[in-house]
């Protein structure tokens, strides 16, 4: 129980750290963001004006559509900014398999955001 509560506390601390260091950017973080940018690029130059709450609702709504393994892979890559080969090791899978899954997840995300009207 203590372990579990500690894990939650650590997650919250990590999230805080993630927010604080997001502006500094490290190479893995940049790489991961570029992958998403590539797929989520706007087709026009309309100024974006999304509320943080609206975006949070969208990403969490999208996550709810994924199975556990895809959620794990997505979160490890785009939240924890882990390299693909580390994710593969954690998920007892292969680099190629994770790469393919990430590609499919990004495509799904694009469709989801389009459907939600957040991506034009």
């Amino acid at each position: 129980m203590r372990t579990f509560v500690c894990k939650i506390a650590r997650n919250l601390a990590t999230k805080k750290y993630h927010s604080n260091t997001a502006a500094i950017r490290n190479s893995q973080y940049d790489l991961a963001l570029e992958e998403l940018e590539e797929v989520l690029a706007d087709k026009n130059s309309v100024e974006e004006a999304y509320e943080a709450e609206e975006l949070a609702e969208a990403i969490n709504g999208f996550m709810a559509t994924l199975n556990y393994t895809d959620r794990f892979i997505f979160t490890r890559r785009y939240w924890y900014s882990d390299p693909v080969k580390d994710i593969a090791k954690m998920a007892h899978s292969t680099t190629n398999s994770v790469t393919v899954r990430l590609f499919r997840i990004r495509e799904k995300l694009r469709h989801y955001l389009e459907k939600e009207g957040l991506l034009v």
Binding site: H18, E37, E57, T65, T69, R71, Y78, W79, S97, L119
Partner: protein, 354 residues
């Protein structure tokens, strides 16, 4: 979408998702793509049998007793236990001595994991309604550091999207307001159970469930004594069957299939397989083999004596162990492993009953 917007979106990722990704545990709640809600035919029988106990137990105790038995019947129907003669399914007696706190309903061992279904009470409706946003569940084995996620037990083929939908489904399917009872599923890796048995020096492990509310508040239910149940497994030896994929122009040996009512391990082998299942594998070289591995799981058909067919679907994990790639697949409702008549992949007959 601009980089800043993507960052803002990722920062909004719920703590639930971040927490569950800390360690790879594919036993968290998984929603399958299709959904058929099974009506519980046996509920009427349950209530008829239970009615006689109302006088003996009193109305309040009856309401609590009733929800345990009702949930057992619902689980059995939803998991399709009886129609598929699942011998590895264990249902626990509900006695009037232990009706609240943590009550074991049933469990099944699928070889990889022990699925344990429990009721916990009291859980208020307000607390139940905080799931999944602000309430989570976990299980642990007292006296050890072994723990894992638990989740409300929802009908197997329910497909949900969004927290609101999950919340409503939980209140409708896994929560009983009258008895303030929540029904949970806890999936425990059998290796964890073995570890706990070794650490505690007993087969009767003290199993407990926790409800975590917000960031600090928590409540523990149990412990109750739990021991691992027997698994039901069949192994189909394919006698070194070779599948030649003409599109990929590659051959793969389909060694065998370990089948339980809720899971399968496809064992395949090919030259260089061990090297491809390491973190440093060359993804380009592995690409076509990965497709071929997927094909074995997805395109092979298990044909039953009544003519119905079943596909195990894609593998959740694919470790290379003991000389073969072991592709582990799992699903929600049971299949009857004693009624397998043939196993085929395309025109290739892998196994046929004599």
């Amino acid at each position: 979408m601009k980089r800043e917007t993507i960052t803002l979106m990722l920062n909004g990722l719920a703590v639930d998702y971040i927490g569950e990704a800390e360690v790879f545990r594919p036993d968290a709640i998984q929603e399958s793509p299709e959904r058929i809600v099974h009506m519980n035919k046996k509920r009427i029988i349950t209530f008829a049998l239970a009615a006689a106990l109302m006088l003996a137990l009193g109305i309040t105790a009856y309401a609590v007793w009733s929800i345990h038995v009702t949930r057992q019947q619902e689980l059995k129907a939803d998991l399709q236990i009886e129609e598929n003669s699942v011998s590895s399914y264990t249902e626990y007696d509900i006695t009037d001595e232990k009706l609240s706190g943590l009550v074991l309903l049933s469990s099944v061992n699928d070889g990889q994991e022990q699925h344990v279904y429990v009721n916990i009470s009291p859980v208020t409706k307000e607390e139940a309604a905080r799931f999944p946003s602000d309430v989570r569940f976990s299980w642990s084995i007292a006296g050890t550091e072994i723990c894992g996620f638990a989740g409300p037990q929802l009908p197997v083929e329910l497909s949900l999207s969004g927290k609101e939908a999950i919340r409503n489904a939980v209140l409708e399917n896994a929560y009983d307001e009258k008895s303030q009872t929540m029904t949970l599923q806890c999936y425990i890796d059998v290796k964890f159970i073995e570890k706990a048995e070794a650490e505690l020096g007993t087969k009767d492990i003290p199993f407990q469930v926790h409800m975590i509310m917000g960031e600090e508040e928590s409540r523990t239910f149990g412990p109750v004594s739990f021991s691992s149940t027997e698994e039901q497994k069949r192994y189909f030896d394919f006698g070194h069957a070779i599948y030649h994929d003409t599109e990929l122009d590659k051959k793969i040996e389909i060694v065998g299939l370990e089948l339980t009512p809720f899971s399968a391990i496809w064992k395949v082998s090919y030259e260089g397989a061990a090297d491809f299942h390491t973190p440093d594998a060359d993804p380009t070289a592995y690409g076509p083999w990965s497709i071929l591995e997927d094909k074995v799981c997805i395109e092979s058909k298990i044909i039953f004596s009544d003519g119905s067919e079943f596909s195990t679907g894609g593998a959740l994990t694919t470790p290379h162990e003991n000389g073969t790639v072991n592709q582990f697949c799992g699903w929600g409702s049971a299949i009857n492993i004693n009624e397998v008549q043939r196993i085929v992949m395309g025109d290739l007959v892998l196994w046929e009953a004599e």
